[in-house]
Amino acid sequence: MKKNQRLIQGNEAIAFGAFYAGARFYAGYPITPSSEIAEICSRELPGLGGFYMQMEDELASMGAIIGASLAGSKSFTATSGPGFSLMQENLGVAIIGEVPIVVIDVQRSGPSTGLATKPAQSDFMQIRWGRHGDQAIIALAPATVRECFEFTVLAFNLAEKYRTPVVLAPDEIIGHMRENMEIPEPGELPVVERTEPQGEPADYRPFCFKEGCVHPLANYGSERIYHVTSSMNGEDGFSNNSPENAARRVAQLHTKLDAGREDIVMTESFDVEGCETLIVASGAPVRAARSAAKDARAKGLKVGVLQLKTVWPFPELEIAAAAKNARRIIVPEMNYSGQLAGEVRKLVNDKNMVRQVNSYNGQIIFPAQIAQAIQ
């Protein structure tokens, strides 16, 4: 057995991935199926020189991690549906304020309190569109325990690099599943640190609204004094109500992610070369999809799987490329409405070629359900 080989849970891997990435501030409010992350943080962060703060609610949790990030700590929170709903307004502050934070949403079944301990993938649209105002965001969804660790590190890297909140959205199955994984050694995975702004402190501007621009963020308490506001603001961080400024500001919040697309959008393909049936999946259903595809290929059917590791920005180009020869696209996901399927349908002319496999009763999707759709 390798030295760092351990049997661990997805949520544990997320917490350890966060520490590996340098996260030293956690604020949260307990909720199943994410609470293990809070518990591990409360146990480990004091020893790492960091802070675990159990806030009075999720509104406060989101506010606290934004404040902590601006004061120089890599910061994160973990929650599930009801808590994620409460975080939305303040999540918008991190978007307009371009504050690097990581939000873990271990997805559970709704609506409302729903099947509180059961898995779902019904928050994809809330992650993308859950707040008022026009904006863009990054979301990643792991399908293995190792990916829980790696994607958490990546989430922090992307948050710092693009000065944006990043949502990591495992479903309950992945969060609670245990798998063997080798914990990476320090230095094995890249870790992005905040770049110190250059130039005269008095000339520092916290923002830059040029297309695709991401300006280095100073920390409160450094020699660079600066303002961040939830209101429409100029590059100096102060309120600014001019229409020209607002147009540049809103556009840049989108174009900075467009410019980084190649870096941000990750997919993995399994036997998609020349496939006639393409299965597009994310999170736990990837596992069922790969099993169903393997059985189908054994029977001579040309079935490939495209795993969406990044959910937002949506991997449109990657799906289009993988579906080049496909006559059918199957999208298995744990929700009723087909939140991913709807996005896939936007990419094809023949809407009928997209088949949904949905589970919305708190149960996992089984390979047999996908196999049926392949027939």
């Binding site: 501030f25 604020a27 146990r43 004091p46 020893g47 802070f51 703060m53 806030m55 009075e56 609610d57 509104l59 406060a60 949790s61 989101m62 506010g63 606290a64 991690i65 934004i66 404040g67 902590a68 990030s69 601006l70 004061a71 120089g72 700590s73 910061s75 307004e89 303040n90 502050v93 304020g97 920390n219 409160y220 308490g221 450094s222 020699e223 660079r224 004094i225 600066y226 303002h227 961040v228 506001t229 939830s230 209101s231 961080g237 102060f238 309120s239």
Partner: protein, 275 residues
């Protein structure tokens, strides 16, 4: 020593401010800037966290670090800033709607945690920014744009709330007494743990005119008549106190603050104590 002007803490090109003629916010802002100056705080070590409302726009005029947040949540953001870098001096500037109504829960828990922050709540008895609706501090029976038949709700006493929840330092003054206000803010900034200064202040556009105080000066007269120091207030017996409020330092204690308690816990853990 020359009188402190506080000017170096103000963003002078943003002045004059946007507040209405007769509004007390300018007095509170001046008191805050002067308190910074008299304590000789470095602007880069200060973070002003604001909520949403008329007073919540105070950060527009401050030349210190600032974070303008959402309605009611300033203390939550301030908590994160402080824990992330305990060397920073963090002030949370909130209206009565912001700090004690929609954000009441964060006020209670910041005081309970004894988070080393200074909250400065300007209580103008209503939601000034949105047109003078009643808040949790609007006196019972007062008239506002959503209590045209008089307010059927009872009011919070912000200072009593903070005291009961565990704040180390609590004081109240009015914006008719700028110098006292500055002194209270200075004490609050120097106090260990959670400190709160409530500044009772006139809303001369909304609350005053709706409650028989048509001119700004009427509200200032009213504040001067109603705010009493402990020496006078405490001598009154019920129900004489009705309609008056106590000014000055109301709570001053030195219970260990959150950061101190957290560091003690950290040391115990590192010494192999009980996890």
């Amino acid at each position: 020593m020359a009188h402190a002007t506080g000017m170096k803490y103000l963003k002078q090109d943003a002045l004059p401010h946007m507040w209405c003629a007769g509004c007390g916010n300018g007095v509170v802002l001046g008191a805050l800037a002067r308190a910074f100056e008299e304590l000789d705080l470095a602007p880069e070590d200060i973070v002003a966290v604001t909520g949403i409302g008329c007073w919540g726009k105070a950060d527009d005029y401050l030349a210190v670090n600032a974070l303008h947040t959402t309605h009611g949540r300033a203390l939550a953001y301030a908590t994160g800033v402080k824990a992330s870098n305990p060397k920073l001096r963090v002030v949370a500037l909130m209206g009565d709607g912001d700090g004690a109504t929609i954000g009441g829960n964060h006020l209670i828990h910041s005081a309970r945690r004894n988070m080393p922050l200074t909250a400065i709540i300007v209580n103008n008895y209503n939601y000034g920014m949105t047109g003078g609706q009643f808040s949790a501090t609007t006196p019972a029976n007062a008239f506002t744009s959503t209590s045209v038949g008089s307010n059927p709700e009872r009011a919070f006493d912000i200072c009593e709330l903070a005291r009961a929840a565990g704040a180390n330092y609590v004081a109240r003054e009015t914006s008719a007494a700028g110098m006292k206000l500055k002194n209270r803010i200075k004490e609050a900034l120097e106090a260990p743990g959670f400190s709160l200064v409530e500044a009772i202040s006139p809303c001369t556009t909304q609350f005053g005119p709706k409650n028989n105080m048509r001119r700004p000066v009427d509200m200032f007269e009213w504040l001067k008549a109603k705010g009493l120091p402990a020496s006078k207030y405490d001598k009154m017996v019920h129900p004489e106190q009705e309609g008056f409020f106590k000014t000055g330092v109301l709570v001053n204690r030195d219970a260990p603050d959150f950061i101190t308690r957290y560091e003690a816990m950290r040391s115990r853990m590192q010494a192999g104590g009980r996890e």
